[in-house]
């Protein structure tokens, strides 16, 4: 019998090699990929997320878990082609124009990926036009923006305006974050969601897409 509880623990503990090995074993034994993901792996991510919220785990722990999750997902994904349930949603993420701060956005991208979203990471210094083009090209459901300084933060408003001025209006949700951003600012520019950290970003993305 495949050690699926062990897989869940490997995700919580951020053990990439163990997670990959146990996933391979489970497939060899004919376990259903979707069940492995939903009943064990996502549970593992939820567990580490809960520990983070409770102050018992830190960003590096989240990162290790997301890594283990992604490693296991990469094995399972090819086996699930064509099944809609394989992806929680499509997200385009980037740091706004004039800003080069990368790491916070990358953490958010990694957590979203770890939790089953398809993420297109555009990088830094991304113009409104590129956000819109990428959202259209990848048929994104959410556009995520990051900024480091109060001087680059207003760019988020421009991106939202560009989205609303395009054919994507009403079809794409927006989420913002980064050190100087807060809930109030997010609301003031008409963003659909804000989160102060990568863990909560996942919950926010899920709620925007109406996923429990």
């Amino acid at each position: 019998m495949a050690n699926l509880n062990g897989l869940q623990e490997a995700i919580v503990g951020g053990k990439l090699e163990t997670a990959v090995a146990l996933t391979n074993e489970a497939i060899a034994e004919g376990c259903d990929p979707q069940a492995i993901i939903n009943d064990y792996m996502i549970k593992g991510m939820e567990e580490i997320g809960a520990r983070f919220e409770a102050g018992q785990a830190f960003v590096p722990n989240l990162l290790m878990s997301a890594r283990a999750m992604k490693g296991a997902l990469d094995i399972l994904k090819p086996l699930m082609r064509g099944k809609a349930a394989g992806s929680a949603g499509r997200i385009v993420i980037g740091t706004v124009q004039g800003d080069l701060h990368d790491i916070g956005k990358n953490l958010v991208a990694s957590m979203l990926e770890g939790c089953g979203f398809e993420v297109v990471n555009l990088g830094v210094d991304i113009s409104s036009e590129r956000f819109v083009e990428a959202a259209r090209e990848h048929d994104a459901q959410i556009v995520c923006m990051s900024a480091l300084l109060t001087t680059t933060m207003p760019r988020m408003k421009e991106v939202i305006a560009a989205i609303n001025g395009s054919d994507l209006k009403g079809k794409v949700k927006t989420m913002v974050g980064g050190a100087p951003v807060n809930e109030r600012f997010a609301a003031s520019i008409g963003a659909d969601g804000y989160s102060s950290n990568a863990n909560n970003a996942v919950a926010m993305a899920r709620s925007l897409l109406g996923i429990a």
Partner: protein
């Protein structure tokens, strides 16, 4: 302005600060993670050329919320300005982990593991801070020779001093000081750079950071309880 390069061995990186940037003040990495952090630090040491430079200008204080350095105004705000009282000179500085470090960090972002990237990012932040501490150390010694003291260092973007004043501050420094460039959004490149002001004078006091009065509740640098 003389741009000084800091030998790697002289940087004095504070591990506690690195852990804090990676997690929180309560984050203590386990042994495995500590070893990983040390490995990243060692790799950074092979490429990094941290630098700092400052320009010393005659000081003025036109009001309780602003200073003037060499005749140019800086809107330091009501929290920072009182901490600069007694200044005869201001040192306006940049300190940076350097373009070499930034290039290396960028390389990790393209090719590397996100965890190493995350650690390297926190290490880079501490390198920039450590370079600023080296700057303050040298400035303090030079001031002491003249019977003067220095204040703590203060940066645009903190405690009510708008980031936009980076433009005025950089206007008082030579072009691209220590290789640091300011873009239209007032972001410095290399990213791992800090800028600011230090007061110098016979009656300058090193006041504790005035966080209690600032009102930014979620500021990580907040030192109210200490």
């Amino acid at each position: 302005m003389e741009c000084r390069e800091i030998p790697w061995a002289g940087l004095e990186l504070d591990r506690g600060e690195i852990y804090r940037t990676m997690g929180s003040s309560r984050y203590v990495p386990d042994r495995e993670m500590q070893a990983r952090i040390e490995r990243v630090i060692a790799e950074a040491g092979r490429v990094c050329r941290a630098r700092f430079g400052y320009e010393v200008l005659p000081a003025g204080m036109p009001g309780p919320r602003a200073i003037s350095a060499g005749g140019a105004g800086l809107a330091t705000g009501s929290v920072i300005t009182p901490c600069l009282v007694g200044a005869e000179y201001y040192a306006l500085f940049v300190a940076t982990a350097g373009v070499e470090f930034d290039a290396w960090l960028h390389g990790l972002q393209v090719s590397g593991d996100l965890l190493d990237q995350f650690i390297a990012d926190a290490v880079g932040s501490e390198i920039a801070e450590a370079a600023a501490r080296q700057m303050a150390g040298l400035l303090g010694r030079e001031a002491a020779v003249r019977g003067m003291r220095i204040s703590n260092s203060y940066s645009p973007g903190y405690c009510g001093w708008p980031v936009r004043d980076q433009r005025a501050l950089f206007g008082l420094l030579p072009p691209r000081p220590c290789g640091v460039e300011l873009n239209a959004s007032c972001l410095m490149s290399p990213v791992k750079s800090v800028s600011g002001v230090v007061a110098i004078g016979r009656s300058v006091e090193k006041k504790p950071y005035g966080c209690a009065a600032c009102g930014k509740k979620d500021c990580y640098k907040k030192r109210v309880s200490t």
